[in-house]
Symmetry: C3
C-alpha cells in the first residue's frame, strides 16, 4: 500500500533534501507526489526545457526506494507566457480579466493555452515516461477549483457557441429546447448567443445549465488532451489520475474519470476560516463520492490534510488522533493510497499557512509522531484491508447536473444541494448502513434500498430504471422536488412528481418554498415515526395520496393535515416520498424502519461513532471511528470475536472507543 | 368591469390555445394582455415584420368575446439587434456593460434604440390600431425596474450633459447651483461633467439628484416617443397605459402619467425570497399611490399576483382567500380592472417559477376555483362599485424626488423612505381614515388633514400651499427633517425647519442621527399621548418651541426634557411637528386625536382588519378585509344596516370576518 | 498657542466674510487653514492662474491678526485636467477606473499629475511664500485616505516594476526573496510582474507587502516633490506639514514625516454611521502615534471635530463637554495647536453634513459657546502647558508594515491590527501610565517597560535592540505571533518565536487560530493573575517553557494545561510572553504588577477617567478627563496640592470630575 507525502523539492535548498528523505524513510513513506507547480522551472523560457532539478530529486527518491508521482504543471502557467499571450487569462462574469499572481489563471478554452499544455506535457512524458521510479501521473491540479471552472471571455463564448452547434445542430432546435421565445431571446445566428455575463435579472435556466455542461466538458477535453499527450510516451505501467475536489463546480468528475486510470481526491475535513471540521457524515459522503466516481474503483487521497490549513486565514487545528482517524476513514471507504499534504509548511508564497507533517522549522514533532504511528499500525494489514470487498446495500443518487440546476434555481434561500443530499444520506450513515453513491449509469438491482434526494432535474434513463427497480421489489426513497425538470432544465407539464407520480402513488398539486425563519411542523402518524414531531424547513410539498398511505402530516398553516410523508406499494416494491426537509429526529427512525424492512444490515452506535465493514462475511474488517473530540463511547460489537491485528487483542460484546480513537478489527473465524 | 389574465400564446403550442380560452371563459375572463415580450417574433430579422402568431391569437380571442390589450415589446430587444448594435446595451456604475440574456438590456438614451423602438411600435400600431378586439396598449413593461433605471455609458453621459445644458443654460448657473466650488469641481466645458460612476468617496448630492431627474425624464421622453408613434395609427377608442412598479426607481410616474390615458400597476404583495407578504398598509399605500398618480383617476392592476412568485427563489405561497382579499383591496382603493398574472406558469425561461392561475400542468385547481369565485362574486356589483366615488379626508404627501434625495443621503443607516412614509401614513390607515397620496401639484383645500412625512427636499410652491392651507384652518402633520433642502438638494441657510418654522412655531437648533441599536425615549406630556412612552429611532430633532406647545419630550441623553412633538396654532389652523421616528403606539393615539379634532371619519377595527368606503353617503360600499391569516375578528359596523349583495344577507352591530375573509357590504337606505 | 478653524472662503459669499471673521475673533481664534481644495479657482484653465479670491481672504485675515495656513490643492484635480488627461485617474484592483466627481481621484504615480502638481505648488509658493500672514503650508490633504492609497493601473504597474528594480537589483534576488518558485511565479523580465489585481485565490504575500511599501513610498516621493517645490520660494519661517489619518493605509507616516517640519492629524473620535465615539484609549492611541511619528515632536490637530460628522450618513452627536474634553486630551498628549473642523457646515457638496462650530444657518449656538469657553480656559496657560515635557516610562511598539502584513494575512477572521494593538496598549493606558508609541528606530533605554504587540513581521535591528534591552535589565512584554516573519514577509525557519525565543525562554511548537465563536479559557496560576479566568480568542500559542516560568495556562481542548502566559528572567531583565488574546480582566492586573515591578508610576482612576501628566516633577500639569457621558467619578489625587489655574481653586485628596468633565490642574510647589 502506498503512503506518501506531497513534496516540493524546488521550495527547499538541495542541502536539505537528504535530511527530508531520511525522515520520510523513518516514517515509512514509500511515495511522493512532486512537480505539479513547477512549470517555470521546467520551461524557464518559451520552448526551452530544463528538467535538471526534478531529475536530481527523482534520482534521490529512486535511490532511497521512494516512488514518484509526477504532476503536470499546467495549473500555473508561467509569467513569461501570460505576458506574451494574455489571451490565455480567464475572464469573470463581469468581464474582468483574472490577473497573473496566483494559480489557475487560464481558460481551458484558449487554443494558445492548449498548445502550450500539449508541449510541456509531451516534454515531461518523454523525459519521465520510462523512468522506473515514476509510477504515475497527475494531470494538472484540482481542475476548476476556486471559481476557475467558468470563464466568460470572448474565446470562451466562441467555444460555447461551437459546443451548442454540436449539441443542437440547428438554432431551431436550440430555440425550441431552451424556450427562447420567452423574453424574446430567439437566436438567429450562433454568434448571438452570450455566455452568462452580468444581466439586470437572471439568465435563461436552460442556457445556464448548458453553459455549466459546456464548462465541464471543456475541462474534460482539456484533460483528455493531456492524457493523450502523456500516452504517446509513457510506459503502460504508469497510471494517470487527477486530484479532484467535490465542491459543486461546473465539473463532471465522473465523465472525466473515464479518461483516467483511477481518480484521486484532496481530503481537507477542515480549511482556512473554519472553526471546526465538517461533519463525519460529510467526510464519508466525499469518500463515497470518490469511490462512486469510477463506479466502485479504489482511489487515492492525493492530498490528505496533516496540519492546520489556510491561506490568509488558518482554520481549526486538527487534534491529536485526527490524523489516524481521517486516514482510517478514507481507507475504510475505498482509498487505496494516502498522500499527506504536505511534507513541510512552505516559508513563502500563498500557502505559507498550509501546515504539513513538519512545520516551518522542519523539526519532527507531534504530527510527525502521529503519522509514524499510523504507518506502523497499517503495516500489519499489508494490502489485505485495502483489497477487501466493499459491498453496499444502500445506494444514494448523486448528480452534478442536479447540483448545477439547484445552484441556478435554489428556489428557497435555505436550499443547498450538499446539505439536502446529506439530509437524506446521513440517516443511513448514522446507523452504519454501507452506502454507495451512484449516478444514473449504475444498475440498481444489487441494492436493497435506493435513496434519491431532491431529484429535480430528471434523467430519462434513470427514471425508467427507478420505476423498474421499484416494481421489481426494490425500495426507493424519493424526496420533495422530485421529477420537476427534464434534462434541459425545462419544467414538466405533468402533475408532480411527474414521471415518478405513479410509483410514488401521489400527486403534488401545491408546494411552498420556505425561507429563513419560516418553518412548518410535520407529525408522524404511522409506523416508527408515529407521534414524532419535526420542524419542516426549506420546502413543503403538499402531498395528495393517490394509492399511497400517509406516514406523516403537516401540522401548521392552511395545509395542516395534508400528507408530508407517504409510502406506496408498487408492483413488488415500495416507494417512500418525503415531501419536506424534516429533521434527523424524524428521518433516522424512518430510515431504520425502511432499512430493516428491506433487510439492510445496520449497527447501532452512539452519535459520532462510525463503523464500517469491508471484506468477506466471517473474516471482515470492521473500522471503528470515534469522531467525538471530547468523550469516549461504548457500543455493542456485532456478534462474534473481533481482533485488533495491531495488538492482537480480541474483543466481544461491549466495546469502548476513546475520544478521536480509530481502530480496525478483524472478525475471528 | 374588466377581469383578465396576462397570457403568452407564444409560449404554448397552438393546439392548447382553444383549451386555454375555454377555461378563461369558464372563469368569466373578458380581457387578456399579450405580446409585451414578443419582439423577436414580430421582427425576426432587422426590418422584416411577421405578426402572424399574434394575428391568430387575437382572432381567437375576438371570436370568443375576449378583449385584448397589446404590450409593445421593447423591454426585450432581440438578440440580432444586440449583436449588430451593441451600443444599445446599458452600462453599470462601474462601467460594466450589461449583457444580453435577460430583459431591459437597453439604455433609453441610445438613439439607435429609439429608432428601432419607433419602427416596431409603428408597425404594431398600423397592424392593430383599428382592430375591434384590441382595446388598448401597454407601452413596454415596468420601465426602470430591476436597476434598469440608471445607465452610465458614454451615450448616457452625452445626453446627461445635453439635459443639463437645457436645465441650466450656462455652466456658471450650474456651477453656482451645485456648489461645484466644493472639492474643486467647477466645470468649464459641458463635456467635463461625469455620470456618477464609481468614486472613492461620494458624488456631489446636487449632481446625483439631477442625474436621477435626468434618468426619469429620459424614460418619459422614451415613453412619449412610443405614445406619439402609437397615436399616428390607433383608433381613439384604444387607450394607452403603462404598468408601473413603485420601488424607489429614478422614475417619475406622475410625470409620465401625463402622456397616458390611465396608469397601470403590477401588484405583487409577495415575491421571490419573501417569507411573508408586505404589510396590508404597505399594499394600501401602493394603491393610494396608483390612484394619486393620475390625481384620483382609476387605474388597472395589469399584473395581479395569482400564485407563488419568484425567479430563482420562490416566495411565500398565497393562502386560500388571499386572491379575493387582494383583488377586493385593489378595487376598494381605485383599481378599475384586474388582470391576473399569469394564466399559467411557464415551462421555460427565467420566470418558470412565477406561478399563475394554472400551474405548469395546466389543470384547474385551487387557484382556478378561487378566481372563479371572485369573478362570480363581483358580477353582482356590475360597474357600480368601481364607479363609486372615493372621497378622502386625509392627504399624505409623497414625492419621488424626495425619495431620491433620501437615497442619496439617508443620513442615518436606519433611514428608508418607504418605511418612514409608512410610519406616518399607517396611523391613518389603521383607523380606516380614507387617504389620498398627493404630490406638490394637488390642491389641499378639500382635505381635513394633510400629512407631510420627511419633507426633506422642499418644493417652493408646495411649501407655500402648505402655509396657506394651515393658516386658512387646515391641519398639517410635519415630521423630523422637514424643510432642510431646496429643490437643488442644497441645504437651507435658515434655521430648521426653514420655511416651515413659522407655521410649526418651532426651531430645530440641533439634531442627532441615530444608528442601528441607538435609541432615545419619548414621553407624551399632554393630550391623548400623555404618559405614553415610545422608542425614538432613526433621527431626533431637538425641538425648541417658539409659539408651539409641547406634546411630547425626550427622556434620554443630554437632550432629555427637550421637546420631541409639538402643536402650533397658526392662523385658523394647526400644525403638528413630530421630531423623531416614534412608534405606532404613540402615533396612533396622536393621529386619532388629530383626526377627531379635524372631523375626519374613522372606524375602529382590530389589527389587520381594513375597512374602506366608496360611494355616496347613505348608499356606500364598505369593503371589509381581514388580512390576518390565523384568526377571525369582530368589530362594530358603522350605524345602519349593511347588506352583502352576493348573498343578500343583512348585517348590523357586531360583524365577524373570518381569517383572510373579504366582503363588500352596501349600506341599506 | 494656535487655536484655529478650517475655513472655506470660496464656499460663502464675500459679503459674509467679515461677519465670520468678527465671530472668529470673538472666539479668540488666531489661525485659519484655507485653500486645500481650491485648485479650480487657482488654475481655472490649464496654465492660467488666478489667486484673487485667496489674496482677498488672506488680506482680511491679516488685517484682523489671524494667521493663515495654506493647503496645496492637489487632493482635487480640476475637471478640465481629468477630461484632457484621463491617465491621471486611479484604477481599482478590478481594473475599474475611478471617476471624476469626488476627491483624491489621481494616482501619485502619474507623471502627468506630478508635473501639474509641481506647477500649482510652485505658483502658490511664489505667491504666498513671503506673505507675512502665512505661517505655513499643508501639502495636499489626507494622503491615501478612503482607499486612495493603492492604485492598480498601467502606470502604477510600470512604476512598481521600476521600484522593485531599485530594491532588488536583479530578478534573481527578487525571485529568491519572494519565493516565486512557489506556484511557478518566477519572473524573467521585470515587465512580467503584476500589480495585485483580482486573482481567483490570493497573491504572494511578499509581493503584496512590497506593493504596500511601494505605494507608501510613492506617496513619500510625491510629497517630497511638493516640499521641494515649496522650498524653492517660501520663507524659512514658514513651516510645511501634512494632515495624516492613521487608518491602516499603505502609507508610512513616519517616513514621510522626515520631509515635514512637524506632522498634523485629523482627529475625528466619531464619524458618519458610528453610533458612538471610539474608545478613549483608542483616541489616546492616535495621539501617541502622532507624537511618536516625529519621535516625540509636538504636532497639530489640523482638523478637530466640532460637530456631528458624515457624508451621506451622519454619526453620533458630540455631547456638551466633548469639545473641551477632546481638545484637552489632544493637548495633554502633545498637540501644540488645535484647528477646529470646520467653521460652518457647507450648504452643498459631499460634506454638507460635516457640521462645524456653526451649522448651516450660521448662528452662534451651543458649539460656538463651548469653543469660546475652551479658548478662554486655555488662555490661562499661555504656552506653558503645551511646552511642558512629556516623559513616558512605557513604550509600545507600532509598525505600519506589520499592520500591512496582518492585513495581508490576518490568519484569524477575528484579527484586526488596531484591536490587538489596543489590547496590549490599553492596560497601560487604564492605569494612566505615560506611554510612547515607538517604532524600530527609537532607542529603548529610557523606558522602563517596552510592550511589543503582535510582532509578526520582524525588523532585524529592532529584534537585536529588544534582546539587548532585556538583557541589560529592561522589561519586555511580547505577545502571541511574535517573530514569525522576516522583513520580506517570509516565515522564519526557526522554532517560534524565532529570534525572540531565547529572551522569552520559550518555544511555540504549535498554535491555533480561533475563529468567531471559538474560544478557549486561560487561568492565571501565579502572581497577580492567579485564579483569574479569561476567555482566550483570536489565537492560541501553545507555549512550551524552556527557561520561563508559567503565569497562566489554557483550560480547554487538548492543550488544556499548556502554558499561555510566561515570564522569563534574561540577563538583568524580564520578558513576558502573552500567548493568546486574553481579556482586559486578566491583562490589567498583569500589567499593574509588571509596571509596579518595573517602577513605573501609575494612578488608579475609575473606568473612563483618564489622567495625564506633563512637565517637571513638582510643578507638573495633570489633566483629568472623564469620558463617561453619564456619571461623575471620584478618585484620589496624587499626593500634594493641585490648583486649577482657571479658577484658582486648590484640591487635594478625593477629587470628583463631572460627566464629560475635563480640567487641567497644576501641582502646587
Amino acid at each position: 500500500m502506498y503512503i506518501g507525502v506531497d513534496y516540493y523539492p524546488e521550495q527547499w535548498p538541495k542541502t536539505r533534501w537528504s535530511e527530508d528523505v531520511r525522515m520520510m524513510k523513518e516514517l515509512g513513506i514509500n511515495v511522493v507526489r512532486i512537480a505539479e507547480f513547477g512549470w517555470s522551472l521546467m520551461e524557464p523560457e518559451e520552448g526551452t526545457y530544463d528538467f535538471s532539478l526534478y531529475d536530481e530529486a527523482i534520482e534521490l527518491f529512486a535511490k532511497n526506494g521512494i516512488d514518484v508521482v509526477l504532476g503536470t504543471p499546467t495549473a500555473t502557467p508561467p509569467a513569461w507566457m501570460v505576458r506574451r499571450y494574455p489571451d490565455i487569462l480567464p475572464v469573470d462574469e463581469n468581464g474582468i480579466t483574472i490577473s497573473f499572481g496566483a494559480r489557475r489563471h487560464y481558460t481551458v478554452n484558449s487554443t494558445t493555452y492548449q498548445e502550450f499544455s500539449k508541449k510541456i506535457v509531451n516534454e515531461m512524458a518523454k523525459r519521465y515516461g520510462q523512468h522506473p521510479a515514476v509510477i504515475g501521473w497527475q494531470t494538472d491540479n484540482e481542475y476548476g477549483h476556486e471559481k476557475s471552472d467558468r470563464s466568460y471571455g470572448d474565446e470562451d463564448r466562441a467555444r460555447f457557441q461551437d459546443w451548442l452547434k454540436e449539441q443542437y445542430g440547428t438554432l431551431e432546435k436550440l430555440n425550441e429546447t431552451w424556450g427562447t421565445v420567452f423574453w424574446s431571446q430567439t437566436y438567429t445566428e450562433w454568434e448571438q448567443i452570450p455566455v452568462p455575463r452580468k444581466v439586470y435579472q437572471e439568465h435563461n435556466p436552460s442556457l445556464l445549465l448548458d453553459f455549466d455542461r459546456f464548462c465541464a466538458e471543456a475541462y474534460n477535453r482539456y484533460n483528455r488532451l493531456q492524457v493523450d499527450e502523456l500516452k504517446k510516451h509513457i510506459d503502460e505501467r504508469q497510471f494517470i489520475t487527477h486530484n479532484f475536489v467535490y465542491t459543486g463546480l461546473a465539473l463532471n468528475q465522473k465523465e472525466m474519470a473515464k479518461d483516467l486510470d483511477f481518480i484521486s481526491f484532496d481530503n481537507y475535513p477542515v480549511w482556512g476560516g473554519l472553526p471546526e471540521p465538517i461533519t463525519p457524515g460529510n467526510i464519508a459522503r466525499q469518500h463515497d463520492l470518490c469511490r462512486g466516481t469510477k463506479s466502485g474503483k479504489g482511489y487515492w487521497v492525493m492530498e490528505e490534510l496533516s496540519g492546520a490549513q489556510g491561506w490568509s486565514r488558518i482554520g481549526y487545528l486538527p487534534r491529536p488522533g485526527h490524523l489516524q482517524l481521517w486516514t482510517y476513514q478514507a481507507i475504510s471507504r475505498g482509498a487505496e493510497a494516502i498522500v499527506y499534504f504536505r511534507w513541510r509548511a512552505a516559508r513563502f508564497g500563498t500557502e505559507e499557512f498550509c501546515h504539513g507533517i513538519l512545520d516551518h522549522d522542519g523539526k519532527p514533532k507531534r504530527k510527525f509522531d502521529e503519522v509514524k504511528k499510523v504507518i506502523e499500525n497499517m503495516k500489519v494489514f499489508g494490502d489485505d484491508w485495502i483489497a477487501a470487498d466493499y459491498k453496499a446495500d444502500v445506494a444514494v443518487y448523486h448528480d452534478p447536473e442536479n447540483d448545477w440546476a439547484w445552484q441556478i434555481q435554489p428556489q428557497s434561500e435555505m436550499f443547498n444541494y450538499v446539505n439536502e443530499f446529506l439530509r437524506f444520506y446521513e440517516p443511513a450513515y448514522a446507523v452504519n448502513a454501507i452506502t454507495d453513491i451512484i449516478s444514473e449509469v449504475e444498475e440498481l438491482n444489487s441494492y436493497k434500498v435506493v435513496v434519491v434526494p431532491v431529484y429535480f432535474l430528471t434523467k430519462p434513463g434513470f427514471t425508467d430504471k427507478l420505476k423498474a427497480y421499484a416494481n421489481a421489489g426494490g425500495t426507493v426513497i424519493l424526496t420533495y422536488r422530485s421529477g420537476v425538470k427534464d434534462e434541459h432544465n425545462v419544467v414538466t407539464d405533468q402533475t408532480l412528481p411527474g414521471d415518478l407520480a405513479e410509483i410514488a402513488g401521489i400527486e403534488v398539486n401545491e408546494y411552498e418554498s420556505l425561507q429563513s425563519g419560516q418553518v412548518n411542523q410535520v407529525e408522524g402518524v404511522q409506523g416508527a415515526i408515529e407521534g414524532i414531531m419535526s420542524d419542516a424547513t426549506v420546502w413543503c410539498d403538499l402531498v395528495d395520496p393517490v394509492t399511497a398511505e400517509v406516514l406523516a402530516e403537516y401540522r401548521n398553516t392552511f395545509y395542516s393535515g395534508q400528507a408530508a410523508i407517504t409510502r406506496n406499494r408498487t408492483g413488488k416494491g415500495t416507494v417512500y416520498y418525503v415531501g419536506s426537509a424534516v429533521e434527523p429526529a424524524m428521518l433516522r427512525p424512518l430510515y431504520k424502519e425502511v432499512l430493516a424492512d428491506a433487510g439492510v444490515a445496520t449497527v447501532e452506535t452512539p452519535e459520532n461513532v462510525e463503523v464500517l465493514f469491508r471484506g468477506e462475511s466471517g473474516s471482515e474488517f470492521m473500522s471503528v471511528l470515534n469522531h467525538d473530540t471530547d468523550a469516549a463511547h461504548s457500543f455493542e460489537l456485532p456478534e462474534g470475536k473481533w481482533q485488533d491485528p495491531v495488538t492482537g487483542e480480541v474483543y466481544e460484546g461491549t466495546f469502548e472507543i476513546g475520544s478521536l480513537g480509530s481502530i480496525v478489527l478483524k472478525k475471528q473465524q
